[in-house]
């Protein structure tokens, strides 16, 4: 494949496991391995999947004013966030739209670790730097710095057995992070993910041949199999998680995207607060919802959503087949009158109109996970 895309540190592992490699956001990434997307998806829901997510951007923000800056760059207040705590939130622009979604972990009083989307890396770095005030310095890690995710009900047990027999993984609560050592190198582990399963993400800041050894050791565990981007997408879609650039962008607000829980009501003056605070009290005209297709067919991003009498009421922003529930699902934006779950709608696919029903964003319940204290 003649391509200038970057190979991640785990590329050789993908080839060894017969991955179908595709270019994605400037990286050569595995779409799926020999098992195929459906079996990979089911494996994550029942055992543990290993994902190469080294394409995602990783940065540190450090300084006495780091918490203050993050509380202005996002609707979330980080001023009282405990050390070791991770939060999912969004960077907002002055119009209240979403620049990117990200996970921020407070490592200590003055140091935060940010994981941003691969496709937004350069944009986010520029946006954050343009808006920093006072004592806060953003240090992006090199593109392609090793980052792994292990997701699934067996994730804790398998990770412990394979690499961390003496680490208190049980003590790491959901949405928390801690430093650890694997094969003699320093890593940072968070109990986070984007699949709806319990699991971990492991950042390996100093890339060397140890990264590949870590990958190989993990895939040798009987409960762990490598999982590609295809299943990563179907897993997050079943959970109703938004994919940036599709289900959320610079024109949608976090209230329209139905993630209003990222907004701390006491967080004053964050970028874009005018629109977001107004929408919190007055409501929105369109809202992100789940869509379940009730007849045979699959609807994709961009499909028009119609009322039963044929008026356009919105658009599908993600769509596909749900391997866990064996049905065709999606998410999209509709006029608020249709935003309640259970409304009958139509989805235009090619020259047909498929019957569908509005649904909660998630199609399966999140797995019970350790409380985040």
């Amino acid at each position: 494949m003649p391509d200038k895309s970057i190979k991640t540190p785990f590329y050789d592992g993908h080839v060894e496991d017969h991955a179908k490699i595709v270019p994605f956001a400037g990286f050569m990434m595995p779409l799926n391995y020999a098992d195929g997307i459906i079996r990979e998806h089911e494996w994550v829901r029942t055992r543990a999947g290993l994902f190469d997510v080294s394409h995602m951007g990783q940065c540190f923000l450090e300084g006495a004013d780091a918490a203050k800056n993050l509380s202005r760059l996002t609707p979330t207040s980080f001023k009282k966030t405990d050390n070791g705590r991770s939060r999912y939130t969004v960077l907002t622009n002055h119009e209240g739209g979403v620049v990117d979604d990200l996970i921020i972990t407070r490592i200590n009083e003055n140091l935060f670790y940010l994981v941003i989307n691969a496709s937004c890396r350069e944009k986010d770095i520029a946006w954050i730097n343009d808006n920093l005030e006072g004592d806060a310095v953003l240090t992006p890690l090199k593109a392609g710095t090793p980052l792994l995710a292990i997701q699934g009900p067996c994730a804790e047990q398998a990770l412990k057995e394979a690499l961390l027999p003496n680490t208190n993984l049980e003590g790491l609560l959901y949405m928390h992070g801690m430093p650890a050592r694997i094969m003699g190198i320093d890593v940072f582990i968070t109990r986070t993910g984007y699949t709806g399963e319990d699991g971990f993400e492991i950042s390996i800041p100093n890339n060397d041949d140890k990264s590949m050894s870590i990958w190989r050791t993990l895939v040798q565990h009987e409960d762990i199999r490598p999982i590609g981007l295809g299943a990563r997408d179907s897993l997050r879609l079943e959970m109703g998680f938004p994919l940036y650039g599709h289900d959320m962008d610079t024109t949608t607000s976090p209230i329209e995207a139905d993630i209003k829980w990222v907004v701390n009501r006491k967080n004053e003056g964050f970028i874009g607060h005018n629109r977001i605070k107004k929408e919190l009290t007055e409501g929105v005209e369109r809202k992100r919802i789940g869509v379940k297709i009730t007849e045979k067919g699959v609807a994709r991003e961009g499909a028009k959503l119609l009322s039963p009498d044929g008026h356009t009421i919105g658009i599908l922003t993600s769509g596909g087949f749900s391997p866990s529930t064996k049905q065709s699902i999606g998410q999209g934006y509709v006029e608020s009158a249709f935003a309640e779950a259970g409304k009958i709608i139509l989805v235009e696919v090619r020259n047909r109109r498929l019957r569908a029903v509005t649904h909660e964003l998630n199609f399966i319940n999140p797995r019970p996970i350790k409380p985040s204290a």
């Binding site: 997307i37 459906i38 295809g230 699959v298």
Partner: protein
């Protein structure tokens, strides 16, 4: 390496045809199903449809994407593989037998001259993989 049965004809769009007098059974090749990945839905043509060379006459949907299947021949749809509507993965599992898509009564037998033999199709696949 993709499987290519010797008795079939192939097209550059990765369809196969089995010709029996003036009836063609059409499906997609092993290479095509491999590229498409796990199929989850097949939109079949209707029996009685008149189709012309190059028309999109079926849609195969994988977990990731929808792909149109273009007919390599002109004629009338006389039979469809209804099993695919409940079990689209037949195309993944048995692309050359249980995964057939439709049977067409050919209206222009000269179109068959354009088809590749199994040997020619294998050479064609090699050029794609190079």
């Amino acid at each position: 390496m993709a499987d290519t049965p010797a008795h079939l004809k192939y097209t550059p769009d990765h369809e196969w045809l089995e010709i029996d007098d003036s009836i063609a059974t059409i499906g997609v090749s092993d290479y095509a199903q491999e590229v498409l990945g796990d199929l989850v839905f097949v939109e079949l043509p209707e029996i009685g449809n008149k189709i012309s060379l190059g028309d999109d006459f079926a849609v195969v949907e994988s977990v990731k994407a929808a792909s149109e299947v273009y007919t390599p021949v002109s004629g009338e749809v006389i039979e469809i593989n209804a099993d695919l509507s409940d079990n689209p993965q037949l195309i993944n599992e048995k692309p050359y037998s249980d995964g057939w898509i439709a049977r067409i009564k050919l209206s222009d037998l000269s179109e068959l001259k354009e088809m590749m033999t199994a040997e020619e199709y294998e050479e064609y696949l090699n050029t794609l993989e190079a």
